[in-house]
């Protein structure tokens, strides 16, 4: 009975996949979209192949395999709708902002020796900066190509696929360091559990908290910190300033630890502490002190204090471990580590922007406008 329904639903999805394929513009609207165009076409072909397997394979059509068939079908439908809402939507618009952002990310990719092909960029994000690793699409908000101070977050987004891409030998050393860090985290929480069992405190509650924190770290925080660290190492101090700015303008309590639900990101305090450790390791001592001082002022102004669970959630030695493992991973992967004497166009531009912002805030906007005009002229000569 259920097979009759599944047959019909799969047929509908196959038709939708074909329609979407027809909506991929050809030729690509701009040269930089050619990779995304290829990826979307390939993904739709993969989806159609999977739908054909779900439709026709005698083993999967067997009633005994209905569970597997439904699970595979749902995930394939999810892929299709995700592709429609992201990659194909991006391909159906283009403007000079997209062209500039693509050139910019391409230049960053070259400057830092990024080990994967650069993602395609669209200025279509309804949130903040984000990346869809499965289709290598990076989205930024509409106006982002006219400002510089948030752009360091591109480096953070570029790091996500370095963790999730499978079977690529260029990423092995980074992923090995990431997994080693995860293993140390598991050891840490195992020790915490053993200590809790011997303790005289509220064992059940602490046991529950340890479980939440362990899951936060393994599922979310380890990856987020590694992405922060990749950005701090490959770009330098501008990333720390951007984190300061984001916390000052968008976040609530930088020290908050929730135990009633999972938290996708580590507390901003822990992120900043880790970024500052990274600057210590790469010789940005002056910048580290300066960012640290401004950060402390911000925390004082916000009037927040770390809750009692903070030390349990983010012990300093774990943050230090993350910083050393990530540095090893970035180095061994062959990416360029930013230093005080780095002379690369986009690296220098983004770091200079923050220097200029602090040095002469009232003149900053004019400075930024001129710099962007010049950079756009360099990167997209035909458009300006």
């Amino acid at each position: 009975m259920i097979n009759t329904y599944l047959d019909g639903a799969i047929k509908l999805a196959r038709q939708r996949a074909k329609v979407l394929k027809g909506k991929i513009p050809n030729p690509a609207p701009i040269a930089e979209f050619a990779a995304l165009q290829r990826i979307c076409e390939q993904r739709i072909d993969d989806i159609i192949n999977l739908l054909d397997y779900l439709s026709n394979d005698p083993l999967i059509r067997n009633e005994d395999a209905a569970n597997e068939r439904i699970r595979l079908m749902r995930r394939t439908f999810d892929d299709l709708s995700q592709l429609e809402a992201t990659g194909i939507a991006a391909l159906n618009r283009n403007n000079e902002d997209d062209a500039f952002m693509n050139k910019l990310v391409f230049t960053i990719h070259r400057e830092i020796n990024y080990p994967l092909a650069p993602p395609t960029v669209t200025c279509l994000s309804q949130q903040y900066f984000l990346i869809y690793p499965a289709i290598s699409l990076l989205a930024v908000p509409l106006a982002e190509s006219d400002f510089l101070l948030h752009l360091p977050d591109l480096y953070h987004e570029l790091a996500h696929p370095l963790i999730s891409t499978r079977d690529n030998p260029k990423l092995e050393s980074f992923q090995t360091q990431f997994a080693a860090f995860q293993n140390r985290l598991l050891d840490h929480f195992q020790t915490q559990r053993a200590t809790n069992i011997r303790s005289t405190g509220p064992k059940d509650y602490i046991g529950y908290v340890i479980g939440i924190l362990e899951r936060n770290w393994i599922e979310f925080w380890a990856a987020e910190l590694f992405c922060d660290l990749f950005a701090a190492y490959s770009l330098g101090p501008a990333y720390g300033w951007t984190h300061f700015h984001l916390t000052a303008t968008r976040k609530a309590d930088p020290c908050e630890i929730r135990t009633d639900r999972l938290m996708s990101h580590p507390p901003d305090q822990a992120r900043m502490d880790t970024i500052l450790i990274a600057y210590n390791l790469t010789g940005f001592h002056t910048e580290k002190t300066e960012i640290g001082q401004r950060w402390n002022e911000l925390i004082d102004t916000l009037g927040v204090k770390p809750p009692s669970l903070y030390q349990r959630a983010c012990p300093q030695y774990i943050l230090e471990m993350a910083a050393t493992h990530a540095l090893e991973g970035v180095k061994k992967m062959g990416c360029k580590i930013a230093r005080n004497d780095t002379r690369d166009e986009i690296n220098n531009l983004l770091n200079a922007a923050w220097k200029q912002f602090w040095h002469a805030p009232s003149q900053y906007l004019e400075w930024e406008k001129n710099q962007l005009r010049q950079t756009k002229r360099n990167l997209v000569p035909n458009e300006t």
């Binding site: 394979d57 963790i163 995860q182």
Partner: protein, 124 residues
């Protein structure tokens, strides 16, 4: 720095194991022994990846922890289930009760996949 990169990345890692396990579970019911043997070995290998301590594969680490946390029966339970199932599959074809345990694992990974997708779409 939104959550999308993170959830997309988690989804991608889970998805690899979810599809691999489901497709092998379909093939293990075949009447062709060549196909079932290959599926048996594939599942055993996959389970070994998931219960390997000090793995250098971040995806295996992630899926292993999520499986572990989905049981209410305590720390390490799923790692030992995966290990004992892998031991069995290394030696012989699974019986019905073992297949049903394998399906529980596939359901658990699928649940995590759909949670990650829901978060990716901003639904949590």
């Amino acid at each position: 720095m939104s959550d999308t990169g993170l959830y997309g990345s988690i989804y991608q890692q889970l998805r690899h194991y979810a599809d691999k396990l489901d497709r092998a579970l379909v093939r293990i019911r075949s009447t062709d022994t060549k196909i079932t043997e290959a599926a048996r070995k594939e599942i055993a290998l996959l389970l070994r990846e998931l219960c390997q301590k000090d793995t250098s594969d971040p995806s295996a680490q992630l899926v292993s922890l999520l499986l572990k946390q989905q049981t209410t029966s305590g720390y390490g339970k799923d790692a030992s289930i995966c290990e004992s199932l892998a031991d069995i599959l290394d030696k012989r074809m699974p019986n019905q009760s073992e297949i049903s345990k394998l399906q529980d694992i596939a359901t658990a990974i699928d649940r995590e996949c759909s949670d990650a997708m829901a978060r990716l779409r901003g639904r949590t």
